[in-house]
Amino acid sequence: MENNVLRARVDELAARVNGQVEEALGELVLTVNSPYVVETLAAAKNFQGVPCDFLHDLAGLDLGDRFEVVYQLTSLRGPQRLRVKARVARDNPVIDSVVKLWAGADWLEREAYDMFGIVFKGHPNLKRIYMWDDFEGYPLRKDFVPPTYEERATMRVRKEGE
């Protein structure tokens, strides 16, 4: 069954990139450290027989002591699914961008940068996407101090050329 084939491939990949495999509610989760992420995703995209070649989602996650970037991979050619989580250090959150593998990661990485401050090395246009350009702070971090009512009720000054 293809589930066993996928499990075999993921275990083999995990051994190569020092990752941990576990199963969460019927889905395989592969956790790696951030330097290995491009190698892991490129290998998962080209799995023999069960390629996980469709990037469904790219999300940031704040776990208190570290960040994680979560990639949800599916495929248009079969039922295979894989979740890859890349650990990113909290004090210097830098990770390689996967825009070369999937062009659809472009805005998703910009969103992770905007919300968490994770810097994606190699991204062509890493700017804020939801908040305005000179917004300070990264909203979805757990230690984000929300603005007070007075701050929110005041109209911001728009930068020229925004």
Binding site: Y130, M131, W132, P139, F144, P146, P147, Y149, R152, A153, T154, M155, R156, V157, R158
Partner: protein, 173 residues
């Protein structure tokens, strides 16, 4: 209705049967303004869909005379702020309001435009559009039905027709 007003209306009706209407210019202008608002399309979120539904054959905003939604604020005199006002778009709404010529009115439609709505504690939402522009009528609802929108606009008609009773805010104050 009080007695004096009823007498006034009966006299007006008697004259109207002969084909004569007596009014002063102010009253006539206010009547005309109230019955022909030209809204500027400031539809932001879900309330905009109810505003569009109000313009459709079932609810038909056209029978009131307000169906001319102008895209350019220079040609409009009413701004229906329909939807959540975020801090990012606040300066743009202020700029569109400033570009409208006098006399102009603002209607805040929906709870997000009234006071922030369900998103009032969010880091990126302006708690009510009246923090940046003066609002004349607030329409509650999430989203308000098209009939609510009509009621709110009819209240605005009353406000426009009676400027002495409801002193309209001057521009900038």
């Amino acid at each position: 209705m009080d007695v004096a007003k009823e007498k006034e209306l009966r006299e007006a009706e008697a004259l109207a049967e002969k084909g004569i209407i007596l009014a002063n210019v102010d009253k006539l202008l206010n009547w005309a303004r109230g019955h022909s608002f030209w809204p500027v399309t400031q539809g932001l979120a879900c309330c905009a869909i109810e505003m569009m539904a109000a313009g459709n054959p079932r609810f038909d905003i056209s029978r009131f005379g307000w169906e001319v939604f102008r895209a350019s604020p220079r040609q409009a005199d009413l701004m229906i702020v329909a939807g959540t006002v975020t801090r990012k778009i606040a300066p743009i709404i202020r700029r569109v309001y400033d570009q409208m010529p006098e006399p102009k009115w603002v209607v805040a439609m929906g709870s997000c435009a009234n006071a922030g709505g369900p998103f009032a504690d969010s880091y990126s939402v302006l708690p009510g559009v009246d923090k940046i522009i003066p609002v004349d009528v607030y329409i509650p609802g999430c989203p308000p039905r098209p009939e609510s929108l009509f009621f709110g606009l009819m209240q605005l008609q009353q406000k426009v027709a009676n400027p002495a009773k409801v002193r309209l805010m001057k521009h900038g104050k």
